[in-house]
Amino acid sequence: MANTPEDLSYTKDHEWVRPKGDQATVGITDHAQHQLGDVVYVELPKVGDKFEASEPFGSVESVKAVSEVYMPLGGSVVEVNESLNDSPEQVNEDPYGDGWMIRIKIDNPAQVDALLTSIEYEDYIKEEAAE
């Protein structure tokens, strides 16, 4: 069973969000890293890049396949996890910690309320699996 910490918010594209003031840290969920398998490459945007909500901001690759990662909220990138260049496996080993991907400045902090709670996200995973 995938780990979905209660203090985070989630998207249906399997990103997690840790808001703090007008900023938020973003990564992919334990469920997503498990589905992907061994991550061998992560491509991230540059600091200053701006994205709309649901726009792809980067990609994460297992040996098998490439998956895009999507912006959970509109905003601009204020920090990227450079350590994923050398150690992409952190996405598998610690998806909610060292495997974080970007920190963003949120355009509209009210959007955070529209994200899924951990319970809603867990239900969503179950629905997806049942399809």
Partner: protein, 366 residues
């Protein structure tokens, strides 16, 4: 409706992730893609490849039919020998690649890819009308297991009295495995030593389980299609539908060694003969990406800002720990050392043409 192999329940029961492949529900991975890949390079892996098609040819003209539809020279085969070959159409395009098993002068078995097994069967039958040969599609009757890796022989040996070291590379034998008659060949699609075991569908699950239990303490694990694909790519084995199809010839695909123009007539011979005379305009080449970003199927290949080809197979190589791939390139560029760029999400990433196979094991049998 997707087809299932006789091992479908066995896969699901051990938690395999199942995917659709060529109309079949197949295990793509069990414990993990990289772990499975490494097990085959360093110990052993067991694959269910029962989705592959089998076509039996029986009768006095069985050899004549093989010679007509395939590019290699099957007249050179002795009883129990196996041969890699391609089937081509009139224009020399590859319809499929296959293994030709000779059992005796009037009995052959063709093992073809899953995707083409029905159309291959129809094609073969269509070209048998004037010959004294029966053509049977026996795909459903057989399961095919691939036991691959440096420990494959020791593992299989524990289940049979047959001296497996007497089966050379690309030969087969009828072998009692765990008391059941199977056709065992020293063949595979991984670049390692190993065997492919053709058995009755009805006993496949028992044999699968016996092999896994017997081999467990030697590091044998079940392996899925994901590992099979990266293993074959490291060995630079071509994948039908990706590295060759009806728009490419075996000569362009670097399979000239299985095109025997001197053997007599076969379908596609005139076209291939003409292409050989005129010289190849393009060739399949292996490349290594000089960057962390992996190349993937379909990515454009660029030289001096001009698109010169497309990646037909591209992936990180788990054993070699490099990003590798195959692509058709104009002949003048298909030489080792040529500098290329692969276009990865809009970025020109440097790569260069390298020797293939990318990975070559130390051969014990040859």
């Amino acid at each position: 409706m997707l087809k299932r192999t006789p091992l479908y329940e066995a896969h699901v029961s051990i938690g395999a992730r199942m995917v659709e492949f060529a109309g079949w529900q197949m295990p793509v991975q069990y414990s993990g893609h990289v772990q499975e890949h490494m097990a085959v390079r360093e110990a052993a892996g067991l694959f269910d490849v029962s989705h592959m098609g089998e076509v039996e040819l029986r009768g006095a003209d069985a050899l004549a039919l093989v010679q007509r539809i395939s590019t290699n020279d099957a007249s050179k085969l002795e009883d129990n020998q196996v041969q890699y070959s391609t089937m081509t159409n009139e224009t020399g395009g590859v319809i499929d690649d296959l293994l030709v098993y000779r059992f005796n002068s009037d009995s052959f078995l063709l093992v073809v890819n899953a995707g083409g097994s029905d159309s291959d069967f129809a094609w073969i039958k269509d070209h048998a009308n004037d010959l004294n040969v029966e053509v049977h599609n026996t795909s459903a009757a057989f399961a095919l297991l691939a036991l691959q890796g440096p420990r494959a022989e020791q593992i299989l040996q524990t289940l049979t009295d047959h001296m497996l070291d007497r089966i050379p590379y690309y030969w087969s034998q009828r072998v009692l495995v765990d008391g059941v008659a199977c056709r065992v060949s020293r063949t595979g699609y991984t670049g390692e030593d190993g065997f492919e075991i053709l058995c009755d569908s009805a006993i496949a699950r028992r044999l699968w389980n016996r092999l896994l239990i017997t081999g467990a303490d030697r590091g044998l694990i079940p392996c899925g299609l994901a590992a099979r694909n990266t293993l074959r790519l490291e060995a630079a084995f071509r994948l039908y539908g990706h590295d060759m199809d009806e728009t490419t010839t075996p000569l362009e695909a670097g399979l000239g060694w299985v095109v025997k123009l001197a053997k007599g007539d076969f379908i596609g011979r005139d076209a291939l003969s003409k292409q050989k005379e005129e010289g190849l305009k393009r060739k399949l080449a292996g490349f290594e990406v000089l960057d962390r970003a992996p190349a993937r199927d379909g990515y454009p290949v660029v030289i001096d800002d001009k698109e010169v080809g497309v990646v037909t197979s591209g992936s990180p190589a788990p054993y070699l720990k490099k990003n590798i791939g195959l692509a058709y390139l104009p002949t003048e560029y298909a030489t080792v050392g040529t500098a290329l760029s692969i276009v990865i999400r809009g970025r020109n990433v440097p790569a260069r043409v390298v020797e293939t196979p990318f990975y070559k094991r130390k051969r014990v049998y040859d």
